[in-house]
Amino acid sequence: MSKRDKLQPLQVFQLLPGTNCKKCGQLTCFAFAFALIGRENKPEDCPDLLTEQYKSSLDLLNEYFGGEVSVEKTGLLIDQEKCCGCGDCVAVCNKCQGTVLFGSGVIIPRNVPPVLKVIDGRVQVVCWESCKRCMNPPEYCRVCEERCPFGALELVR
């Protein structure tokens, strides 16, 4: 999904029954919407969505959040079908591997191995520990997702 057609939490919430029945394991339907985006839950976890009334919502949600994906460690989803291996994400990630001293205009390089690498024509995570999200305290950088021209990368956390 590209940047243009990415579903936002409120849009996901509008597709849900809104009964807050807690049968999915989440406290509210809004929490379930976030859990869907984070791939912690699947659309089928909501029993109401399986009824005829919500069939169209279920189809749409399955289109976005269905399928087997694992984001346990990185939170970075890579759509291998959409990725063309242009390496834009690799280049911008490498450029961002520095700590900016705000106000001074100085960028201190981190000197860490690259997070991403294009292997066999598709981008793959090779060293997630180098990502700024793994720093202490973490920096919630999204540059790889933002600069992907095909919308192949999605950070779900």
Binding site: G85, C86, C96, V100, G121, P149
Partner: protein
């Protein structure tokens, strides 16, 4: 086993950082290559896709195929050599020599692509630069080009993201990316500025910008584009086929714009060639004849003109034998034109069994440049790149094939 780094010859970027992993002579892993390059390199291992040595549809020995091809060429009165864009500089030199010896016509895809731009660059009429000099630029423009499809690694390896001054952080942007295109392409999606023009109306847009330079009131888009140019000190324009086709090879207005820009900034134009050594062919032929394409060697003299372009040669049924080197003519030509080649003997030199190879009288399978055969090539920006093979070839290289053909023709 890591076989080291090689140059990818899938497109005109000629990326020289491709990591290859091999086991027992088979590629098992490719690092850094884009999807296009990976598919190209992995595809070279599919024997069903590779061309062998054929004569009249039958598989023959190399010598027999070469003999048959030489017989066809020597018996032709008006042979046409087309292609060589996917061959090394060394093979191109031999191709030119072969055309000269046969007294035939020589052309390549640049006659309907970037030939005019490259010719003017070589003649010194149009300013250009290399990818290394892009670091001086503060404005990069892709005009009628979508590198994310044609040359996927262009932004990350040579232009915006490779720029020394590019950084995501900070308030001031040191280098900007602008795209002029008829649709919001992938490149336009990540560009800082996007100017949409209607199909075929690039000329009007250029005219509007020139009017703006002269101080006349212009539309919003042209004014914004002019504002970008006025703020810039060094601008590189990557000219795609969209610009060439929209201007219909009449670049006078574009050159006028470049001339005006030259008054306050340093402009440079780089044509976004498609084939890996298309620009190399233009260089080789220009050095040999003074023209970049559409050349005839009939009667021992060099002649140049539109009548010697592939399209005119096919349309007028002028050629009585075709030697196609590294090009898929039958896939590229419209069906109405391809039908005119019915009955004309075609000899194809190609690493892959293409549609053209399928319709050819003789097929000479070649080694894949960069992977199986070495040599030199010219990147889209005019830089010479050395190709070092990493795999043992099972076929002759196109250079060897052309050399053998020359020998057989005496």
């Amino acid at each position: 086993m890591n076989a080291g780094k090689m140059v990818c010859t899938a497109c005109s970027c000629l990326c020289d950082d491709i990591e290859i992993e091999m086991e027992n002579g088979t590629i098992t892993g490719i690092g850094n290559a884009c999807r296009k390059g990976s598919a190209f390199l992995f595809g070279s291992q599919n024997e069903k896709q590779r061309a062998g040595y054929l004569a009249k549809g039958r598989e023959v020995e190399v010598e027999s195929a070469l003999d048959a091809a030489a017989r066809l060429l020597s018996g032709a009165r008006r042979p046409l050599l087309f292609g060589l864009d996917n061959s090394t500089l060394e093979a191109q030199t031999l191709g030119i020599e072969l055309a000269r010896k046969l007294g035939g016509v020589l052309d390549d895809s640049s006659s309907f692509c970037h030939g005019r731009l490259v010719e003017d660059i070589l003649a010194g009429m149009l300013p250009t630069c290399t990818h290394e000099q892009i670091h001086d630029a503060d404005l990069i423009i892709y005009w009628g080009a979508n590198p994310h499809n044609a040359q996927p690694r262009h932004l990350s390896r040579f232009s915006l993201y490779a720029h020394r001054k590019y950084h995501e952080a900070g308030v001031k942007r040191h280098v900007s990316l602008a795209v002029v295109d008829v649709r919001e392409s992938e490149t336009a999606g990540v560009a800082h500025h996007f100017f949409r023009v209607l199909p075929g109306e690039d000329r009007d847009f250029i005219a509007a910008v020139i009017e703006g330079i002269k101080g006349k009131p212009v539309g919003k888009d042209a004014a914004e584009f002019l504002g970008l140019l006025e703020k810039s000190r060094c601008c590189v324009i990557f000219a795609g086929l969209g610009l060439t086709y929209s201007l219909d090879n009449d670049f006078s207005l574009f050159y006028e714009l470049i001339g005006h820009m030259g008054k306050w900034l340093k402009p440079a134009v780089i044509p976004m060639g498609g084939h890996y050594n298309a620009r190399g062919f233009n260089h080789s032929l220009y050095n040999a004849t003074g023209y970049v394409n559409k050349v005839s060697f009939a009667g021992g003299r060099v002649a140049h003109g539109d009548e010697f372009s592939l399209l005119e040669q096919v349309r007028s049924r002028a050629a009585d034998c075709l030697l196609v080197v590294g090009a898929d003519l039958f896939s590229a030509l419209p069906a109405s034109l391809a039908a005119l080649l019915d009955g004309v003997p075609v000899i194809t030199v190609d690493p892959f069994y293409t549609a053209t190879a399928g319709a050819s009288t003789g097929v000479l399978g070649a080694a894949l440049s960069g992977l199986e055969a070495g040599g030199t090539a010219v990147r889209m920006d005019g830089t010479v790149v050395s190709l070092a093979p990493v795999k043992t070839p099972r076929h002759l290289s196109d250079e060897q094939i052309l050399k053998r053909l020359l020998e057989k023709l005496g």
